[in-house]
Assembly symmetry: C2
Homo-oligomer: 347 residues x 2
């Protein structure tokens, strides 16, 4: 497999990103090619520090520009064609090269990532809008949520396509048989929710291959009632950040309370909490695919560490091997003529 990594994106770039790449070497076969795109001197410094000499699997490509974490997405992508983020997407786009790499990966500015991917790779045949599918490690098992930020104001047709794409992903990469698809809503009753929700529900009910199980509320997520939760990018992104903030805050509060009341208990609890954290850690899942682009583009958390990157590389390889994109294209082609496949009018 061949793939390209943006060495310059993320809160801990380039150090943690490059370290993660090098740590991933132990899971890469001899004929893999990992293209690390970024500031060559910086990347090579980190490689030297880690004692990695010439490895035929690692290729460094120099790029002269970097997109910052807070730059305006479309502007940044347009004005920085030689940024590592844009460059990896060109390497992964069949429009830009005859021999695209199998996947690209970045922990950089998510908005710019989505723009670069959409503008450079374009969309898979039949797809209206790409969506980010994140896997949340819950206690009873993982749940895929799509979209978590690519499309904050979707139409029903976008959400219905997210259901199809995320279902394919959950089936092929998480190994779930007939994943249960739910629509996030503010109540379980049919009359609840916005126009967007009700129209999406009506669409989902008419797609025989989708195992639609109904509405799900925020609190049910943790009860294991669905494998895939479809929602708009605004709500999905808010959920993701809220979950992260709350889990962290709750852990801190427990640690504080225990420390105040019983210092010996605190020490013993620390070990237990570490074990729990490891089981339910987004670093384990490593990256979220941008479903629907014509290529494989993996978005990593801005605060990714070396192990996040290593795990994301492992998972991206699985995404490619499982043929997720090809399966999505086939499933959409089978729906030719269905309302979910109709062309959109200009907004």
């Amino acid at each position: 497999m061949r793939f390209a990594i943006d060495a310059m994106g993320g809160d801990h770039a380039p150090d943690e990103i490059v370290k993660g790449c090098l740590d991933a070497l132990d899971i890469l076969p001899a004929d893999d090619r990992m293209i690390i795109v970024g500031d060559r001197p910086a990347v090579e410094d980190i490689m030297r520090e880690r004692g990695v000499g010439a490895d035929p699997r690692v290729v460094v490509q120099h790029s002269t520009q970097t997109i910052g974490m807070h730059e305006t997405p479309v502007e940044a992508v347009r004005s920085k064609p030689d940024s590592s983020l844009v460059r990896i997407h060109a390497l992964g786009s069949s429009k830009k090269t005859d021999d695209p790499v199998d996947f690209v990966l970045s922990a950089g500015n998510t908005g710019a990532h989505v723009s670069a991917a959409t503008m450079t790779m374009r969309r898979l045949p039949g797809v209206h809008r790409p969506g980010i599918a994140v896997t949340i490690p819950l206690f009873h098992g993982p749940v895929v949520v799509c979209d978590v930020g690519a499309n904050p104001e979707p139409r029903p047709i976008h959400l219905a396509q997210y259901a199809i794409m995320a279902e394919t992903y959950a089936e092929r990469v998480l190994g779930l048989k007939k994943p249960r698809i739910a629509l996030l809503n503010i109540g379980a009753e049919e009359q609840k929710g916005t126009g967007l929700i009700k129209e999406t529900r009506d669409l989902l009910k008419t797609i025989p291959s989708v195992n639609y199980v109904g509405y799900v509320e925020g609190r049910d997520l943790f009860d294991g009632v669905a494998d895939v939760v479809v929602t708009d990018g605004f709500v999905g992104n808010t959920m993701l950040k809220l979950t992260e903030g709350l889990a962290k805050s709750l852990m801190k509060a427990i640690a504080h309370e225990v420390m105040v009341q019983d210092a010996e208990l605190a020490i013993r609890l620390h070990e237990v909490m570490r074990g729990l954290f490891k089981k339910n850690d987004y670093h384990e899942y490593g990256g979220a695919p941008l479903l629907g682009v014509n290529g494989v583009s993996i978005i990593c958390h801005g605060s990714s560490e070396a192990r996040t990157i290593r795990n994301a590389i492992r998972n991206a390889r699985e995404y490619v091997s499982a043929g997720v994109n090809e399966a999505i294209v086939r499933r959409l082609a089978e729906l030719e003529g269905h309302p979910v496949m109709r062309k959109e009018e200009a907004a």
Copy 2:
């Protein structure tokens, strides 16, 4: 003070509701009047069980209908004029009686509650749409979130008014000086978010009395960067339920992990967790006012227990004493001519 309680609403009605009312007697002055509306035999049975004899502060009013937790709101309110939920709102409405009670309270069907309140009490002068303001007990202090479900598809003008109303509430009831008002968004940068968010931001910036501090993301909520968070009812409701589900699930996972690894530790931890729960318990805040209706209508959690109801009564009395509604009306009147006060065209 005089107030009316819906004895029949909530997962644990009427038992826990009536018990909560009786438990509240120890905080009520001799000239308070508590009107408990519901099935008289059931209510009186519970009073007898608790050994409460004739108390001049307690009046039971019989109602023949009950609105279930899953009924369709507007339909239920229209078809059940003698339901306890509709009846308490008539008692609290200056349109329906010359001598309205000071507040009404229910733990019943939230959608029906909002409909009953809006249809019976109508709105305060100048208010476009009522919004539910919930106080979330976070570890660094409480945060008020408005709206959490009354208005899932608001316009910018509704959100801007929520900021004004929730600010007044936070100031007068939570005792915060110049509460910091934030707008929930999916990024901190100005260009982020939907049209709704940007238009609301522009409105908030032009209201001098509002201490607008900018966008806040889901994860920042737990860092104490804002006292009031304004959002649409869909996102707010989802956040609330997600928080509830996640906290419960996390606590369960920790308890399980500890039990497996170290049973003695589990017993000691149990005590600590109980203390923590007590500090951060929604039962302590008891109820959420529906801001903007012409009256005081308090919405309690569906799973309210006796202590939730008791605390909600205590807090509702503070809401009335603090003159929140009068202050809201004054603040809106001062904005006469401002875009936030313009009449809405029919949707």
